[in-house]
Subunit: 411 residues, 4 copies
Amino acid sequence: MSDQAKRPEKINKVVLAYSGGLDTSVILKWLQTEYGCEVVTFTADLGQGEELEPARHKAELMGIKPEHIFIDDLREEFVRDFVFPMMRANALYEGLYLLGTSIARPLISKRLIEIAKEVGADAVAHGATGKGNDQVRFELSAYALNPDIKVIAPWREWDLTSRTALINFAEQHQIPVPKDKRGESPFSTDANLLHTSSEGKVLEDPWEEVPDYVYSRTVNPEDAPDEPEFITIDFEKGDGVALNGEAMSPATLLAALNELGRKHGIGRLDLVENRFVGMKSRGMYETPGGTIYHLAHRGIEQITLDRGAAHLKDELAPRYAELIYNGFWFAPEREMLQAAIDHSQANVSGTVRMKLYKGGCYVVGRKSPNTLYSEKVVTFEDDAGAYDQRDAAGFIKLNALRLRLLGQRHG
Amino acid sequence: MSDQAKRPEKINKVVLAYSGGLDTSVILKWLQTEYGCEVVTFTADLGQGEELEPARHKAELMGIKPEHIFIDDLREEFVRDFVFPMMRANALYEGLYLLGTSIARPLISKRLIEIAKEVGADAVAHGATGKGNDQVRFELSAYALNPDIKVIAPWREWDLTSRTALINFAEQHQIPVPKDKRGESPFSTDANLLHTSSEGKVLEDPWEEVPDYVYSRTVNPEDAPDEPEFITIDFEKGDGVALNGEAMSPATLLAALNELGRKHGIGRLDLVENRFVGMKSRGMYETPGGTIYHLAHRGIEQITLDRGAAHLKDELAPRYAELIYNGFWFAPEREMLQAAIDHSQANVSGTVRMKLYKGGCYVVGRKSPNTLYSEKVVTFEDDAGAYDQRDAAGFIKLNALRLRLLGQRHG
Amino acid sequence: MSDQAKRPEKINKVVLAYSGGLDTSVILKWLQTEYGCEVVTFTADLGQGEELEPARHKAELMGIKPEHIFIDDLREEFVRDFVFPMMRANALYEGLYLLGTSIARPLISKRLIEIAKEVGADAVAHGATGKGNDQVRFELSAYALNPDIKVIAPWREWDLTSRTALINFAEQHQIPVPKDKRGESPFSTDANLLHTSSEGKVLEDPWEEVPDYVYSRTVNPEDAPDEPEFITIDFEKGDGVALNGEAMSPATLLAALNELGRKHGIGRLDLVENRFVGMKSRGMYETPGGTIYHLAHRGIEQITLDRGAAHLKDELAPRYAELIYNGFWFAPEREMLQAAIDHSQANVSGTVRMKLYKGGCYVVGRKSPNTLYSEKVVTFEDDAGAYDQRDAAGFIKLNALRLRLLGQRHG
Amino acid sequence: MSDQAKRPEKINKVVLAYSGGLDTSVILKWLQTEYGCEVVTFTADLGQGEELEPARHKAELMGIKPEHIFIDDLREEFVRDFVFPMMRANALYEGLYLLGTSIARPLISKRLIEIAKEVGADAVAHGATGKGNDQVRFELSAYALNPDIKVIAPWREWDLTSRTALINFAEQHQIPVPKDKRGESPFSTDANLLHTSSEGKVLEDPWEEVPDYVYSRTVNPEDAPDEPEFITIDFEKGDGVALNGEAMSPATLLAALNELGRKHGIGRLDLVENRFVGMKSRGMYETPGGTIYHLAHRGIEQITLDRGAAHLKDELAPRYAELIYNGFWFAPEREMLQAAIDHSQANVSGTVRMKLYKGGCYVVGRKSPNTLYSEKVVTFEDDAGAYDQRDAAGFIKLNALRLRLLGQRHG
């Protein structure tokens, strides 16, 4: 194949984000043969719902030393330190997307860099393609955490540009090729505890409805129960802490909400979005628990957040979402926005009651010991002097003053 | 009652926003007796779904001269010049509310001021209370359009502060009191072609679910058809122009979408929001057609709007929504934002296909002669050189440069 | 005079922001006579450059109990906790104004409320007029810190609306009237360690140049030394800590910069600004040390702040400045912005060298142990591989992709 | 030298941005020899102050056909369609820089693309290096205006990476090398009617003061006249139209202000800025007329712009400036912002009086037929009822309401 001498840099040891699947197995072998370097595998449980131990076995078969095989359960860290902080911001990319793939990448890069330090590796490698956002997210995070790290992105480098070439390479190198991977997959997916995304092939015409078989995390709303289900979520300082009154860890809570969302067909999104690399792509996202959580968080903020804080958050949220989408989790401006957002959450505690029904998810009640909602002030009934309606006259008059001066000019 | 001499200003002729209902009838009489001025009534059809001719009859009964009774069908102007421009911005107040009440107020004020000019009135009057946003919206618009106009807000001035006092006043002055108005209404509503809002009384505890009888514009999702319905909406330059291929005027289109939304239980929102006057209130909104339209507009923008334009719009939208909510439609900064938004809509043309089902509303397809989505560029398949994956390496390297310099400092 | 019974509320004890001057002496007496309440005086040294002890004597003469006379030196707190945090934001109101008056008001209110708690007062009073911003700033801060406090703003209440009436009242009540206060002052001023502002009367025509005699804190640039002076300011974590290498407390540093600014005629600003209460006003500001400090802070940020952080700060700064100008120092949204800004300052340490000359103030050098400026990367000379110019091609290609897709549509 | 076969694409005809200097002459020859393509030269007069006819002669000597030599005076278009629209925004990059280089690039690209169309060229070429912003600006503009154009950036491609190699190439190809170009230049410059920038070499240490010999457009403030000079600038709809009452075209006005600025030492800026390509660089800018114009424009806006418009402009300006700096002049989001900004300028007409003195530039008066400043409203004197001070009480009360509700929660 290609000449190792042409590789830009000599690599001694590389940490590969390794799923155990065909593609990253090919990458593993390719790194060994092309770069002639030692490969360290890292396989993360982010709640994607797959067994991880097979990855260990496969890595061993490909000659990876046992001490170079890292398999970590990152589910709690993922939800606690990445998903929940993001949810505090009510972040939606392009108004609709809950950023399920974007938010997982910085955590994977963080572990890659930690492991690289631990094993003395000089490079990291990932299996993201050259057209997507994930390469950007992986690499920006890696460079931010270790500016001297080398990054290998085989999909941008190698000549295995067709499925056939990939499978040939696999067969040449005794990498088992599962039957269902022999043909072209009709779409590609990414999954973690927050969401499953699907894109490519059968989804590439944005006028065509997403076929039913693409969905894997939610029932079709038409097949959801005919009776609504009511739940409560408790929040403390902006983060969910209990479901139906039962205290849960972050990952446990999100997993439980995923089950509820799956059952009621909640969180499907068919989206054409703008990638950071400059093109539009069409994806399908299923974010069952995240959709419920997002709306619940808005619900509890409604009674616990001051208007000034709430509106500032709403103005900052699109930028914050864009930063996460583009891969700038470990950038100072994301951290600055996070500092502002986190400051606002000190009193975002209380309980939200929600109705789940056939794809829909509705806040139907919220209460809090920290509520700023004052029935006494707002009431249509006599408010016992809590609010003097005559104040409104002056309020309006001074708000109108500049408009009146403008009107006089035009007049 | 109170002494006319105490009124701050002598009024000769006032134009009253008059619905024909009990409250504005009392106001009409009160203006006649308190201010001793001539009253001109203005009744607008904004699609609230009530007969307007009875208002004429009632006004006549209260001594208003025929040439002083104005009844206007403003539905097309409302949708074309207010609702659609706002929808171009994807405006949501506090992330969720489609601003159905807010957007109607400036139009009413505009007509009040026009009529005042026509009949030589020196004042306008409205029936909004002193705790709400509507007083602000009416008055800011009125002052912006005529800085010398006087505004009378009876609810802030009079001593009819209880329902009993109001009814007594009505009876003293031979104003008919409908039976259902004798008791306290369990909630109050506002309606127009875009939405119906309800608030007060039974809705004042934000932990209590909104009772079923409060809803009037939509069926309960549980009672909606068991089969989804698919529709298409065509857009031209950012505005809806056809439903299922049939060309429609703005108001006709919105009315037709309302029917669809009603049938499928779409557009219910239970919200605790922050009023401009400083308090939180809990409302229930039904925006059936508007909800469908809003999502469809986002759908067509997904393929026709450049990322730079789309993200700038998303960042400006919360401010734009806040301005409309607070009553600043006729303020220069709203017009500036509108100029920016309208500039972005020149190519927002095409067709969106949507699925309506039991409260849910989903974009399932979109196409456009102006599409910026390029299957050729995005495809997982061979793209024939439309995109050079190696460009991504340089793109990432330069985006990472500042983060690496940061990392070196910390390192 | 007016009837105490008409006062809206019974006041027992009020803390008055008392300067010892004629106006607040009249207010003191008026509070005693009108409200019949006990008056507590609070006089703050914010660096306005006046003796405070005479205020004690005057208060005693008017019957204030010694334990009810509070005189505090707040200079260090003012600069450390208000001026410096604001300077971290590079805040300029309407692009030009360094907010010298605005930033002092929340501190005064904070002490008023603290003293009210200490002495069991139920109200505070201030001498700001009903047309200005200061009433808003005082009262918003007071209400935020104690929502139940009562606020008395005599200028909005009393009938002493002419200078003559005020002086008559003073004479009736044996309040000494200095000779220079008998006539109308040609302008009014406010001063503290950060600035002196002047407005009114001779300044009211914005076409007329500010007369020379209005300036009090700076020499005319024409009269400044003919030789430039060079200084250095050291910063640590975003705050100034030393002048010309000599460590100084915040207030000492600002005072020393004021002396330098005065000498070189730095920091004069003739401005027409937009008040929060809706009108435009013309003011003259002298901010000698603050102007130098502001530019120096930008100078040190240039080499220590990452681009993402710097640009986010620049986008947030106008809003932050508006909040301070409008009196929302103690509002959650100001605190959120402060959290974001403060997060950015951790590495803003180093030394700035400045040239002062005849009204001008120029950064001429900056260095920092935390510098992000890399001569190695930026150099026109051979950079030994620190930057690969070919990366720029990919960077540009992907940044251009969306524009090319747009161009193809138009083409 | 290098092998033409390795060039990525076959080019038939290229339009080169040609100054006539050594570097672009080498590029011209290199294009001929490396790409073997026909070269078209484009030389623009943007007010850089150099003779353009020598460029024609040099191009002819290098074999360019007369009909392929384009020399255009773009000064009026530059100021009218680029500088003035930008000045309407009060745009400052990183708070200080008036964007003199950035704003010229899109115009050059526009003409390159126009000429390419005219002569049937398939490529354009420029002399910007691979580390700077200008390559990005040239190329983004070119791609936006013609998505199919090819761009050649010799500095990123060739192997003439040292001064010696460049001069050797020149000598090999009979390109005359002026004596002062034989050695390394101590810094590099760019100039146009708006500014002169200098960077590199002697400026690379940001702690070292910029040497005096680097300045070329302004006298040292110490050498400026000892007497201040007063001038007036008239504006119409946001653009300057007259100096000292004499009507002038845009370029004439800017040139006249440049003379004034030069004489008084106005507009020097020593800046460390953040480049779009990810590094910090130190530059020195001289923007004599632009600095005066910028401040004058703010001055006229002070009395003619409503607060809402002014504050929105201030919030949008950093983004707008960043877009221009980064090269996105022809991007939809820049155009959207321009639409908003331009909308605000309809009444920005009137006269500003300024004082110029030893590096300083001060607005000392402004007047306008459209003024929104109302002496009647703002006056300390009796305002005859133009403003009711009691309105302020209600205004403050309702602005404080949410803060009081917050305070009660904490209380």
